[in-house]
Amino acid sequence: MRYQNRVYVALIILALALSACAGTIRDRVRTSALMASETALSLDALEQQLAPSLTPEQRVVTNKATLAMLEAVRTYERAVRIWPESLPAMPASVWEAQRDAINAIVALERVFEDTPGSGKLLANLRKLRESIGG
């Protein structure tokens, strides 16, 4: 009987611990969205520094791809921002925004792959992609 009670207690503690952990997923994603947004801002500054060394045609392409990345990261941040606290699992809107943001980052990486002097920018893009989960 005593053994059975201990099993019940262990199960209760386990269930409560799991519910506590479920709450932290949203918080972790919110923090990563904030970090990703800050990295996106630093990427904007890096691209501006690099822009004078690019041809006008290259600038058009990099500006377009950087703009797409910034908009995708903002959409992701907004989707995370409105994730209700009552919902323990990641909503579909966050998954979709995450996927779109990763695609935009990969597209920007491709644009800068062959650009001289873009090593720091590419390293930050990788950091951004990883912080989002890509």
């Binding site: 209760i12 503690i13 918080d27």
Partner: protein, 56 residues
């Protein structure tokens, strides 16, 4: 009497577990980004996006 003691022990342990879980949740919230932080970064992103749209 033994059964009553067991029930009381379970209740006491469950109460302690609940307190611990609430503390864990509060701790997790303290580590997560706040609405104000996300709103502030959203504004910065929007400013930069608008600036870039103006450049295009």
């Amino acid at each position: 009497l033994e059964a009553d003691v067991n029930v009381l022990q379970i209740l006491a342990l469950a109460n302690e577990a609940l307190t611990l879980c609430f503390k864990l949740k509060e701790l997790a919230k303290a580590n997560g980004a706040t609405d104000a932080e996300l709103d502030a970064i959203d504004m910065k992103l929007t400013e930069i996006i608008e600036r870039r749209k103006g450049q295009a």
